[in-house]
């Protein structure tokens, strides 16, 4: 047992004991009412779904691919309060307090976070004081190149080891609704297009119909799929997937996992086990992809920390960047935690999941 944590249990109990003791007394006095023993309402006899009223959805609307746009075009579509601020900053003849405030707010609006924004601007303030930078244009350039230099130089290739005895295993992890299953489906289609054989392991046994969702993607992409029972043990589903891939000589296992909030200790423990068990068979986990929604705010950093701690995340997939959100939190994740952003989701079609290009990402913010 974890030695350092034992005192914490006592601390917790002590506090909890007091809180409920005092709290219950206070509340019961204040409201002068009995303590309700509320049993959460759970329907006793489930109404049987009227068969006639349910018609299974057969076909799934396939998102229609428009003419492919460049990453820059798409980011520009959702662009960009930063560029607005840049225009305003450039419109001034000098660098003054308003300049700094506008730049800071612009960075904050992109979700890079207070600390990162202040450290980016702090470095520049020193240089302005030293008269190294004198015009707003120089300032913008310096900010852009500072940001770029913090992102370039990292390898962003998806890690595939060709000479393994068993399959490569890529594990998808992340919070609920980030886009794990969809990203997995797209990655499968792309890898198959590259000539690799792919098997999907439907490790999300929790969310209703997650397996069906993945099956649809398997059909679309021509990947094989291993599914377990709903509510079953995700580790064993993924282990079975790896074994089955090995026996069929399949190159790559894409393992889906259920979305979970990083603060849920038990579910994070389950994920740790998933990663451990995945390597018990013939395969090797060569990539753990953390899927993060571009709308995510400062909590993204905490997500990255906790998921990395549990599963040694090797890369980030930033989804839904085609919306109005900037995804600036990945800048903090990459610079503060050193986890590279590898893929970016820019739309609904398979081709819309593209390799992350830091220069384009930052340029798009500044254009």
């Amino acid at each position: 047992m974890n030695n350092s944590s034992l005192p914490m249990i006592f601390l917790l109990l002590a506090v909890a004991g007091l809180v409920f003791g005092i709290g219950v007394v206070a509340i019961s006095r204040r409201k002068a009412r009995a303590v309700p023993q509320i049993q959460r309402a759970t329907p006793v006899a489930p109404v049987v779904t009227p068969a006639a009223s349910v018609i299974e959805v057969g076909g799934v609307v396939e998102a229609v691919a428009a003419a492919p746009l460049s990453v820059r075009d798409r980011l520009a579509k959702a662009r960009s309060s930063l560029s607005g601020a840049v225009g305003s900053v450039l419109g001034r003849s000098e660098i003054n307090d308003a300049t700094w405030l506008e730049l800071e707010e612009a960075l904050l609006r992109a979700d890079v976070g207070v600390r990162v924004a202040q450290s980016l601007l702090g470095a520049l303030q020193t240089r302005v004081k030293a008269k190294e930078i004198t015009t707003p244009a120089q300032l913008i350039d310096a900010l852009r190149s500072n940001m770029s230099s913090q992102l370039v130089g990292t390898s962003r290739d998806l890690n595939f080891e060709a000479n393994l005895d068993g399959p490569n295993i890529w594990l998808m992890v992340g919070v609920n609704g980030a886009g794990k299953t969809t990203s997995l489906g797209k990655i499968a289609a792309q890898q198959i297009a590259l000539g690799r054989t792919v098997l999907m392991a439907a490790g999300d046994t929790f969310r209703a119909a997650a397996g069906e969702q993945l099956s649809t993607w398997a059909e679309r992409s021509g990947a094989q799929i291993v599914r377990g029972a709903e509510g079953g043990d995700p580790s064993s589903v993924i282990f079975d997937g790896v074994q089955s891939a090995h026996s069929r000589n399949i190159d790559l296992v894409l393992a889906d996992t259920a979305g979970r909030l990083q603060s849920n200790t038990n579910l994070m423990e389950e994920l740790r086990k998933v990663r451990r068990v995945a390597e018990k068979g013939a395969g090797k986990v060569t990539e753990v992809l953390l899927v993060i929604d571009a709308t995510t705010g400062q909590n993204g950093l905490q997500q990255a920390r906790q998921f990395t701690e549990a599963t040694q995340v090797t890369g980030v997939v930033l989804t839904k960047l085609d919306g109005s959100a900037k995804g600036g939190i990945v800048f903090a994740i990459e610079t503060e935690l050193g986890i590279p952003v590898k893929l970016v989701g820019l739309g609904e079609t398979i081709d819309d999941l593209v390799l992350f290009n830091p220069t384009e990402f930052i340029d798009a913010l500044f254009e």
């Binding site: 034992l6 506090v15 219950v24 303590v35 707010e105 886009g179 995510t296 109005s324």
Partner: protein, 473 residues
């Protein structure tokens, strides 16, 4: 993680201690800390600007009491302001005179619409209503299947037809009337606010079902973009309220504040867990302290109320204070505590805990080990742990499958806790009991050195200093 506002302000005022008068720079620093705290909670930049200005004004208007320390006073003002912003009019569901009452769910992809739709249906059922769920998300593979599975779990029928979402919604309405269901909940596909085609589609759905309530589902982890999204959806659909999803995580949930401020619509519900019944009406006061990172003691008390018998709780509290708390009581407490949910979630709701405590990973397995050790003791040993000698220790360790050192640690910690409780019982126990919740909180804070206390405030002329920042009126 981030420091809470109380810690932040504590740091500032500690440095200002003994200063006769706050300078303008000092006030700016205080406001700066408030700004940072709000930004780290993902409150929108523009909203933060307004809030901080309002807080500054209010701080000036408030008579600064000499008895209270300024840090706590500022926190009170900030807290009150946030509650006022989050609260205001609450959404009260009234049912249509010609059923069904139609509810439309909208939001971005992955915000939690389908799950929230099912949870909302379960909530309506608990209110004695008979909802029908309509799966109009024909975009995401198996979304309707997901809704169907959830519907079966809660005993609510699900309707959907393949093809066109607008037609599905219209047919769903007719189906609800045919079946005599009095609430209709329409789940729609996730869409980006800037996708005009998809926004038109959801507007069309809205037109054919004419919803009485349109809920925007917002992920509690959303950052600055929440405002843009809420505005766009409100312009298209005239949102009646917001459902805040995934609030069981450790996100501060500043998005709630931003959305409320910008579109002026109430946060109606909050989803607080994976289970279908983890869904409740929104409490602005709890959200305020959460945004400020100051724990959620009210929810904790409410949960405690559900699992603890009142008399028993009072007895336990008394025992704790008097230091008559035995390992048996402790074991008992553990059992009760377990009913309140995972330890980490309970920890998360406690205010004023030191950082180390919050960061420590507390897993429920550790409780099991602790239980095993206590269960391996004789009744006498549980009453008087001091009789546990070497051979007893070995026996207990063997019985519980632990190490002798684990047993030692437990016994030592327990006796320290007893001492601490006795001290507290002597010092503040009676006061807390009489004073109720407020002083209870203070007691805890003092115990863990949480909110800054005991700073002489008479020598800090806060109001005057704040006033100096105001433009002449």
């Amino acid at each position: 993680m981030f420091d809470n506002l109380s810690d932040r302000l504590g740091g500032v005022f500690k440095r200002l201690r003994g200063k006769g008068r706050l300078t303008q720079a000092d006030v700016d620093e205080v406001m700066g800390e408030i700004r940072t705290a709000l930004l780290e909670a993902d409150v929108n930049v523009g909203v933060v600007r307004n809030v901080v200005e309002r807080i500054r004004v209010q701080a000036v208007g408030t008579q600064v009491s000499e008895a209270l320390d300024p840090g706590q006073q500022i926190i009170k003002i900030v807290n009150a302001e946030l509650i006022a912003m989050l609260g205001g009019e609450t959404l009260k569901i009234t049912y249509a005179s010609h059923p069904p009452t139609v509810v439309l769910m909208a939001g971005l992809q992955g915000s939690g619409k389908t799950t929230s739709a099912a949870k909302l249906a379960a909530w309506f059922r608990s209110q004695g209503r008979n909802p029908l769920l309509v799966g109009a998300d024909l975009q995401r593979p198996a979304a309707v299947e997901q809704l169907r599975v959830l519907g079966a779990q809660i005993g609510v029928p699900v309707f959907s037809i393949a093809g066109d979402p607008v037609a599905t919604a219209a047919a769903g309405l007719a189906e609800a009337q045919r079946l005599g269901r009095d609430v209709l909940i329409v789940d729609t596909a996730g869409r980006l606010a800037i996708d005009t085609e998809m926004m038109q589609q959801v507007a069309d759905i809205s037109k054919v079902v004419s919803p009485h309530y349109t809920f925007l589902v917002v992920d509690a982890m959303t950052g600055q973009d929440a405002v843009t999204v809420a505005k766009a959806f409100d312009e298209t659909l005239a949102i009646s309220g917001v459902i805040l999803s995934k609030l069981d995580g450790d996100a501060r949930g500043g998005a709630a504040l931003s959305v409320k401020e910008v579109i002026g619509k109430p946060i109606a519900f909050a989803a607080t867990g994976e289970k279908i019944d983890a869904f409740e009406q929104f409490h602005p006061d709890r959200m305020a302290s959460r945004i400020l990172g100051m724990g959620d003691v009210l929810t904790l008390i409410e949960q405690a109320e559900k699992v603890f018998e009142k008399d028993q709780a009072e007895a336990t509290a008394a025992k704790l204070m008097d230091g008559e708390f035995t390992l048996d009581d402790f074991l008992d407490q553990l059992q009760q505590l377990k009913k309140m949910g995972s330890l980490s979630s309970v920890m998360g709701m406690l205010p004023g805990l030191p950082k180390e405590a919050k960061d420590a990973q507390i897993s429920d397995d550790m409780v099991k080990v602790t239980e095993a050790i206590i269960r391996s003791m004789t009744p006498e040993e549980r009453r008087k742990p001091e009789i546990i000698n070497g051979s007893r220790r070995t026996r207990i360790a063997k019985g519980s499958g632990t190490q002798v050192s684990d047993v030692n640690k437990l016994v030592k910690q327990f006796s320290e806790m007893q001492k601490m409780m006795k001290r507290m019982g002597g010092a503040g126990g009676k006061g807390s009991g009489k004073g109720g919740k407020g002083s209870g909180r203070g007691g805890l804070g003092a115990m863990f050195g949480g909110p800054p206390g005991g700073i002489p405030s008479g020598d800090i002329d806060l109001a005057a200093a704040l006033g100096s920042r105001l433009p002449p009126r």
